[in-house]
């Protein structure tokens, strides 16, 4: 180790403490690395205790494991924590857990702080911790004794002249209280009773401050404020002596220990519990002083009006005068409204007419466009129909003329026309035309059909051959 330190920067190696027999000096980084290696070689074990100050980061989960005899800072890789699949809120301050792991040490560097922790690799939730159970028992005991009520029965002044505030001297809560009071326009007297608001010294000091403030007899209300923190940080506000003192105090106490999820016992026993010191300050002074001053001035004016009016007039006259005044104001108002309406009327009328004309014009244009379109479509349809009809007529005419020609041609060939000219048609007994002499001889009996009628004839004699 000595050699390595020397190699690092022998020229910068400072001299040791004069007279000291301890080895060194060594470079701290090297020593820290050795310490980490030493701690990691220790046995890995399982521990149980209560979780406090749980903080779930992106990379690691941090908490403290506590019991009545001691505590140990713990850290766990977020991946290992997520792998437990505990669910949201399953691990919380006050729960009893069993953890498995070993000692570890982050050596830090020139720009980062070192940290010692018990590196947790496994965890099991074993139930509600003793501290939470103890808290619950105490709350029930105070309730059973009726100590949650007395503070709430105390009368709180709407405009306290002196407000006692118990808080940490360097905390942000002090400024928040002042901001809340300034918002109310309150500028009375504040009596600060500074006390630690965390750790084991807090509860006795806060208790003493409460008793001292009340004992002065000049404090109208007391605010106990803290800027928030985990339930572990606020545990001093669950102290039994402190809570009993608050419950039996003759001065109203407004608690504002800045915790939204878990209520501390002082929240239960106090006259009022507020989520922030600013809210507590505003609750301590329910009256908005600036506004109240303005209202008071108004009341003074009204009283003056009544006081001046009454000695000069009888009550009935005053009432009548008031009614008249009201009526005249109302009439005047109505006139003004009417005039205003009338003065606006021409302009509004023109505007309405213009809008109506514009609307009509738009409608006419739209209607014209729509009608022209319809007409165009209708004309097109008509033209098409006419065209088709013309084609059909032309076809019909063509067909008619052809038919007529055929009819004429057919008529020209009609045998009846020939008979009309004096010819006769010879047919046999079956009606078949007999067109030759031989056929007539063979047929023997024939029928002669003339234009007017048919007669039967018998063929006899020889041929008269041409």
């Amino acid at each position: 180790m000595r050699e390595t330190a020397g190699m690092a920067d022998r020229a910068a190696l400072p001299a040791g403490i004069h007279g000291s027999r301890l080895p060194g000096p060594f470079g701290v980084g090297m020593y820290a690395a050795k310490l980490r290696a030493y701690l990691r070689e220790r046995s890995r074990v399982q521990l149980f205790g209560e979780v406090w100050n749980l903080r779930v980061g992106r990379v690691k989960v941090y908490f403290e494991l506590r019991d009545a005899d001691g505590a140990l800072p713990c850290s766990m890789w977020r991946t290992d924590f997520d792998a437990l699949r505990l669910g949201t809120g399953a691990l919380a301050d006050g729960l009893q857990v069993v953890v498995g792991g070993g000692l570890d040490y982050y050596a830090g560097s020139r720009t980062s702080s070192p940290a010692f922790s018990f590196a947790v690799s496994g965890l099991r939730v074993a139930g509600e911790g003793d501290l939470l159970a103890q808290l619950d028992r105490l709350r029930k005991a105070l309730d059973a004794e009726g100590l949650l009520v007395p503070q709430k029965r105390l009368e709180r002044r709407a405009l306290p002249r002196t407000i006692g505030v118990i808080t940490g001297e360097g905390g942000k809560a002090r400024h928040d209280v002042l901001a809340g009071l300034a918002r109310r326009g309150w500028a009375g007297r504040i009596v600060w009773a500074f006390a630690p608001v965390q750790d084991r010294h807090a509860a006795p000091r806060i208790t003493a401050a409460l008793q001292d403030l009340a004992a002065t007899g000049h404090v109208d209300v007391i605010i106990v404020a803290r800027g928030g923190g985990s339930l572990a940080d606020l545990f001093c506000f669950c102290d039994e002596t402190l809570c009993r003192t608050v419950a039996l105090l003759g001065v109203p106490v407004i608690a504002s220990v800045g915790h939204h999820t878990d209520r501390t016992l002082i929240d239960d026993v106090a006259a009022l519990s507020c989520s922030t010191p600013t809210h507590a300050a505003e609750s301590a002074v329910p009256v908005h002083c600036t506004q109240a001053r303005a209202e008071l001035a108004q009341v003074t004016r009204r009283l003056r009006v009544h006081g001046q009016r009454m000695p000069l007039a009888r009550p009935g006259l005053v009432a009548t005068a008031r009614r008249l005044s009201v009526h005249s104001r109302r009439a005047l108002l109505q006139r003004a409204q009417t005039l205003s309406r009338l003065s606006r009327a021409p302009g509004e009328h023109v505007a309405r007419e213009r809008a109506r004309l514009h609307q009509s014009l738009r409608e006419m244009r739209a209607s014209g466009r729509r009608r022209a379109g319809d007409e165009r479509a209708r004309s097109a349809r008509r033209a098409l129909v006419l065209d088709r009809k013309a084609q059909a007529v032309a076809l019909d005419a063509h067909r008619a003329s052809g038919l007529q020609a055929l009819a004429l041609a057919l008529a020209a060939h009609d045998p009846d026309r020939t008979l009309e000219r004096g010819y006769a048609l010879v047919t046999d007994s079956s009606g078949e035309p007999v067109t030759t002499a031989g056929a007539a001889r063979d047929a023997h009996a024939v029928r002669l059909r003339f234009a007017d009628a048919a007669v039967d004839a018998t063929i006899c004699g020889d041929d008269d051959r041409a």
């Binding site: 009375g188 009596v191 009283l303 006081g307 009454m310």
Partner: protein
């Protein structure tokens, strides 16, 4: 006959009584004598309220508990 009002002791009582007085006066039902008495009572209440507001409007005074105790022990009053 009007009833004798209770003497208000706190700011909130005073303001509540003032509101009642103004309502009565505005109703126009109070006779001359009652009106005069109400106005007198109202003015006294306004003075009381103004004094209360004045007391918390002079400027913020910040004291440590020890200072207050010392002042009280010295008999200087609060």
């Amino acid at each position: 006959m009007m009833t004798e009002p209770e003497q208000p002791v706190s700011y909130e009582d005073a303001t509540a009584r003032l509101e009642a007085i103004i309502r009565r006066l505005d109703s126009g039902e109070a006779g001359l004598r009652e009106t005069l008495e109400l106005c007198k009572e109202g003015r006294a209440l306004v003075e009381l309220c103004a004094a209360e507001l004045e007391a918390v409007g002079q400027g913020l005074e910040e004291l440590r508990l020890d200072d207050l105790v010392a002042r009280l022990e010295a008999g200087a009053g609060a």
